[in-house]
Amino acid sequence: MTEADIRSRVHEFIRKNFLFDDHITVKDDQSLLGTGVVDSTGILELIAFLEGTCGVKFADSELVADNFDSVDKISSFMAGKLPTPKA
């Protein structure tokens, strides 16, 4: 899975589960908690989704707002977690 895949899946998940509107997109650098798109329980829903789709597991120490608070942050953090795809 590439970083671009992750980006688009995260966008899709946010649309379906928090925005409920196909016409709205969050900006990649928009703070999800800070703009109220996702609340603190919602972030856990998002984290569970990432674990489920990307087949990774997060340590407690990784579960900080800094890693999950925007689409940018999520995708760069996830890129570091996933094995580098073969070229």
């Binding site: 409920f20 509107d21 908690l33």
Partner: protein
């Protein structure tokens, strides 16, 4: 305790309100007072009254007049100091025919005019028609315990305890006011004069409106909550003295609410400090059997049985309980919304609707509750959160300061980094607004406002087109000089307390089953005393209701005093999406219904509903819903219900003819003799 309604014409060309119309109006709210009905009518005015008899059972009928029959009153509520006021009025030469508090108001108005209302200690909504001066006076108690709505068009004025009484008049249009929706999805309440219905105003608590003969009107605010502007050191009482004084005031307020009734008064027991204390004081006020009532939950998360029973045992009351299942909540929710007449973001009123039924079935007509203590004495988390956020704001980069939240929410200290980080991110927003009005309530208002993403484009456009009525622009002039706690208390009182807790969760749920609530903590003297206390007596560090706990020592079991504050909650989204949810939910949230109502964004609502259904299905009855989803689903279902009941329907329920025990009809004779 009662229901009132009426129509007054200030222009000659309007027809005299008919008996049929007035009867339809009072019939729509007959549950507020099923004991007796009364009507007064002349060529210009009609007043109707549904009575729940609590004081002066034999001669307290309404409408009631002064000695010469020129002033007529319909009144919902109680004036607890009517005995004292009557003494003053007798000394001034007034003569009384009844033993009711209603007659005292009429004479008080004759003696002191508008100035009578600040003298009254009670809970009221009333209308006085001065047929000679052609003047109509509408008044509401300080905090808005009793509801009152007004509609004015073209020199004709309608008033009623509930909007549905006006909708009994087919000439009154029924339309949702987008401003009312917008405010509710910010503050949890609409802000008077805005109501949920276009053209229908809510009379503000603590105010009086006077219509003169030419139909012009003026509003007078006679009371608003007010807090000290002087330094705490200047407060004259020591903590011990203040504790003693507060105990005495609450006890007096409780005794008045037990003894100023010609029927027995019972008490709610929530399991918390406030209702335990008022029940204990109520018990002491009068010999004989004392009835108490509690809500239990099948869901252990919400249940407080242990503490309720401990208190019932302490005062040896005749204790009754109603057990609430999730399916009960969904079942009664349509009736709850029909009575509340507003969207609600929590299901918490539903169990109280069922509790008042238990009270009524057991033969009791009035109950004490602990409502108001959390607002007057700083019991809520919102006050503690605000204090920590203030402290944090002085050093926003500090990682130590926000650790105080762990004191507030001990689970944070135990939970892994993630929950802590997310929670802090939430509270950190807007930290730079410290010192600005509304700082204390920003997190709540901001969270709630997120739900507006479910509004339809039409509603959003309508809201945007209106000048915003901003709570923060209409604050009392001294607001900025109050301590931050006083500021937060003020905002809590005028939004959540008046517009939700004592209305949607209070009066409306009680009156649905003809039960009157009496609230010692909302006594005029108790409120003024509490508001005057130095902030540290109320919130000592992070210790909430500090002084009240001192009052309670020795009376209430220690385990109730010392338990962490438990917010009263009921299962929210879960009630509507589990297997046994009633069919109306799917129907209301169907594309057709959403589209027809036009208030909400169909796709977004369908999306949220599908998400909640899926979570319920996947988790087998153990689903955890986020705060946003809980509030969202409950709020949106209530908006749809509101539309179904009040816009498609007229808010009435079938049943019941009205038989009048009081009927004064001057209209036919006046019409014959042409003396309008």
């Amino acid at each position: 305790m009662c229901g009132i309604a009426g129509i007054v014409n200030f222009r000659d060309r309007h027809e005299t309100p008919s008996r049929e119309l007035l009867t339809a109006m009072i019939s729509a709210i007959r549950y507020r007072g099923p004991d007796e009905y009364g009507m007064y009518r002349d060529v210009r005015a009609g007043l109707v009254h549904a009575r729940l008899s609590l004081i002066d059972l034999t001669t307290g009928q309404q409408p009631l007049a002064n000695e010469d029959g020129s002033l007529w009153i319909v009144f919902n509520g109680e004036i607890f100091n009517y005995v004292e006021l009557k003494r003053d009025l007798l000394a001034l030469g007034h003569r009384f025919r009844t033993n009711s508090d209603t007659e005292v108001i009429v004479h008080a108005y004759e003696a002191w005019g508008d100035g009578c209302f600040p003298k009254m200690n009670g809970q009221w909504a009333l209308a006085i028609w001065d047929s000679r001066a052609r003047r109509l006076i509408l008044s509401r108690d300080r905090i808005g315990v009793r509801p009152l709505y007004v509609r004015e068009r073209d020199g004709r004025v309608w008033f009623a305890s509930e909007a549905k009484a006006m909708f009994a008049d087919p000439s009154v249009p029924r339309e949702i006011d987008p401003r009312g929706l917008d405010q509710t999805f910010t503050y949890w309440a609409s802000l008077p004069p805005v109501s949920l219905f276009k053209g229908i105003e809510e009379l503000a608590p603590g105010s009086t409106r006077t219509y003169e003969g030419d139909g012009s009107s003026r509003d007078t605010i006679y009371w608003r909550p007010s807090y000290p502007v002087s330094a705490p050191e200047e407060y004259p009482l020591t903590l011990d003295q203040a504790t003693e004084a507060l105990a005495e005031k609450i006890e007096t307020a409780t005794r008045l609410r037990i003894l100023r009734a010609d029927v027995p008064v019972g008490s709610y027991l929530s399991g918390g400090l406030d209702s335990s204390l008022t029940a204990w004081m109520g018990r002491k006020a009068k010999e004989g059997v004392f009835q108490t009532y509690s809500i239990r939950f099948e869901d252990a998360e919400y249940d407080e049985t242990e503490y309720q029973r401990a208190m019932a045992a302490t005062i040896d009351s005749n204790h009754q309980e109603v057990v609430i299942r999730r399916s009960d909540i969904a079942q009664v929710f349509p009736e709850v919304v029909r009575h509340a007449e507003r969207p609600i973001l929590r299901t918490a009123p539903a169990p109280l609707y069922l509790l008042s039924k238990l009270v009524r079935d057991s033969g009791i007509k009035a109950v004490l509750t602990g409502e108001g203590a959390d607002e007057m004495l700083a019991g809520y988390d919102i006050f503690r959160e605000a204090k920590i956020r203030h402290f944090w704001s002085r050093q926003p980069e500090s990682t130590v300061r926000p650790r105080l939240f762990e004191r507030l929410y001990p689970y944070l200290a135990r939970s892994p980094q993630q929950a802590k980080g997310m929670a802090l991110q939430f509270w950190k927003k807007g930290l730079d607004r410290a010192g600005q009005p509304g700082f204390s309530h920003d997190p709540r208002w901001w969270t709630t406002s997120q739900l507006k993403r479910f509004f339809s484009p039409d509603i959003r456009a309508a809201v945007a087109a209106q000048p915003p009525q901003d709570l923060l622009a209409e604050l009392p002039p001294q607001f900025g000089r109050w301590d931050p706690l006083g500021q937060a208390q003020y905002l809590e009182v005028v939004t959540l307390l008046s517009g939700y807790l004592i209305s949607s969760q209070g009066d409306r749920m009680l009156m649905a089953h003809s039960v009157e609530g009496r609230f010692p903590f909302l006594d005029a003297e108790v409120m003024d005393f509490c508001n005057g206390l130095p902030p540290e007596y109320k919130l000592a560090g992070l210790n909430e209701k500090f002084i009240l706990k001192r009052v309670a020592r020795g009376a209430i079991p220690e385990k109730i005093i010392n338990r962490p504050k438990q917010p009263y909650r009921a299962p929210d989204a879960a009630s509507f999406v589990e297997g046994d949810a009633p069919e109306y939910v799917a129907e209301l949230l169907s594309e057709d219904s959403l589209h027809q109502a036009g208030l909400l964004e169909t796709g977004a609502v369908r999306g949220l509903y599908a998400k909640c259904l899926a979570r319920a299905r996947e988790s087998g009855g153990e689903a955890v819903f986020s705060n946003a989803d809980n509030m969202g689903l409950v709020g949106l279902i209530s908006v749809q219900l509101l539309h179904q009941q009040f816009i498609r329907g007229d808010g009435s329920a079938p049943g019941g003819g009205i038989v009048y025990t009081t009927m004064i009809d001057r209209a036919p004779l006046q019409q014959l003799s042409g003396t309008a």
